[in-house]
């Protein structure tokens, strides 16, 4: 008896749909804020934390690699990366771009050093750490999807609740502050959402491709709409559909890495959108 969709595919599909939706949703605001590069830096800065989290969970004797500890480590080191970026921009003459590039390369490089160093630690299963770099949908378990699903829903809910403030903050930070919402708080909110999306995306598309989930659907949606709320919903839709189709394709065809397929699909959608709206003479 073969079912239409196997259990593992169904699981991966649910996780991908929910994650794709929330990453597109949050990504719209990241895009408008012009913080896409920052999100890439953040994603690369997770690597040292992942490895350290792995070491911590191993030496605390936790079962295999406790996912939550790894993701916590990833979050902490990415957060630290954000702090360093802000420090560099505020305290030195180096610009924002330089700070982002510096943190991205240094943190990621340090992570690779740690990853290589972990080889000599006599514990098994560190090969699993590399799954977080490019994602691994095949190994999705129920507990993974539950976490990814819940967190995705929470992120989208936060976007819905804060949509006005985020819009006002991005468009005119002074107005937002005068309305009683301090700039640094709104900036922190957006960074936090980006961070959370990055963390849960590590398992599905990996840290290298997470930035694509936050950027491409948003850029595509921007071509089709003229309002922030509709843009964010469309972006969420694009992200979700691409993620879902990507998973289905990787289940139907052998030897396809799901994360990469998803990104390629999103890119195709973007390409088509550019062509169509250009031909249409879009006045968006």
């Amino acid at each position: 008896m073969t079912e239409l969709i196997g259990y593992n595919t169904a699981l991966a599909l649910v996780g991908a749909l929910l994650f794709g939706f929330s990453s597109g949703h949050v990504g719209a605001f990241v895009y408008l804020r012009k913080a896409s590069l920052l999100s890439d830096s953040l994603a690369h800065a997770t690597l040292p934390g992942l490895v350290i989290g792995f070491l911590v969970s191993t030496f605390l004797g936790m079962e295999e690699k406790n996912s939550l500890v790894l993701l916590l480590g990833a979050g902490v080191s990415a957060l630290f990366g954000v702090v360093v970026i802000q420090w560099i921009t505020a305290r030195t003459k180096l610009g924002f771009d330089t700070a982002i590039a510096a943190v991205l390369s240094v943190f990621f490089g340090f992570g690779i050093v740690l990853l290589t160093g972990v080889q000599s630690v006599s514990v098994g299963q560190q090969a699993g750490l590399e799954d977080y770099i490019l994602g691994s949908v095949s190994g999705m378990l129920l507990q993974d999807v539950v976490v990814i699903g819940l967190v995705s829903i929470m992120c989208s809910a936060a976007v819905v609740v804060y949509r006005r403030l985020l819009t006002a903050f991005i468009f005119d930070p002074v107005l937002s502050e005068m309305a009683g919402y301090a700039q640094h708080r709104m900036s922190f909110l957006l960074s936090l959402l980006t961070l959370v999306i990055t963390i849960i995306g590590l398992k599905i598309v990996g840290l290298i491709l997470v930035v694509a989930m936050l950027t491409i659907p948003a850029a595509t949606a921007r071509l089709w709409t003229t309002g922030v709320w509709s843009m964010s919903l469309l972006s969420a839709l694009f992200g979700s559909v691409a993620a879902g189709i990507g998973v289905i394709i990787s289940a139907l065809l052998p030897s396809l890495p799901s994360g990469a397929v998803i990104v390629v699909l999103m890119f195709i959608a973007l390409g088509l959108s550019i062509v169509v709206t250009h031909l249409r003479g879009s006045n968006v």
């Binding site: 593992n8 595919t9 000599s120 560190q126 799954d131 095949s138 190994g139 378990l141 289940a251």
Partner: protein, 317 residues
Amino acid sequence: MNINRRRFMGLSTAAIAAPHIALAGQSLNIVCTVGMLADTAKQIAPSNVTIRALMGPGTDPHAFRQTRGDVVALTKSDLIIRHGLYLEAQMEDLFAKLGKRKTILSAGEAVPDQHLLPYDDASAQYDPHVWMDPALWTHVADAIAAELSSKLLKNSAEIAENHARFVANLIRLKDYGHDILASVPKQERVLLTAHDAFRYFGSAYDFDVMGVKGISTTSEAGLYRIEELVDLIIERQIKAVFVESSQSDRNIRALIEGTAARDHDLKLGGQLFSDAMGPAGTYEGTYVGMMDHNLTTIARALGVDAPTRGMNDKLNV
């Protein structure tokens, strides 16, 4: 591990002069890539030889990244023993360079071609996991013994004795495997592991072997593969799957969940040592112990009442 230039030059000179020094009966410094080779060399070599493996327990040789320290160790050594057959594919360039001034023994390539299994239908390469068949590993032991004898003429007698003892153990291992697995019926002779490292085991003991990932671990398994295996597990009513010490267990756990959703109780048969041995200093951290552990674990998972502490009653349980 700092090494300044002067010391490096001194040691390089020493390395070139090593064969002459060795003939004089002084110690030999051997660096191996994988642990199985290091242990085999250790069993065969006389006591005045230092042997070290670059890759320890739990390290995946397909994904191993050599550090500068590793390169220095290789350069300092008197003899390099690598597996070859592209097990250490990412180190090919390094060994090509080192081979110009150092002795490198590609021990795995001592196995005659007719016993080697092809990598896949397309390429001309071979599956490198030959240590899974003790009978084939005999050839490796022979090659190592020959190399050691040529470098340590004074210790030839001792080397020959060690070699004979080791080969005898290999034969015992092979027989032990046959004995305990004899009672497993044909349709249950299936071994499903994290990656395709056990083909030589399969041909040695008449098992169908499958890995979630292929022979090399570097690419993602893919959802398609997982679904394919779930169908296969249900179809053939496979009872147990195995995780490996040097691989992530996520794919295996995904298989267990996937088959459970179809009401099939797939058990985790245990952890096998595929590309790396057990913890250093333990019985499982030796070649014989590693193979003993694998055979015993597989047999017991398939319902055979094999001795819990294995062939030599030394397994840690």
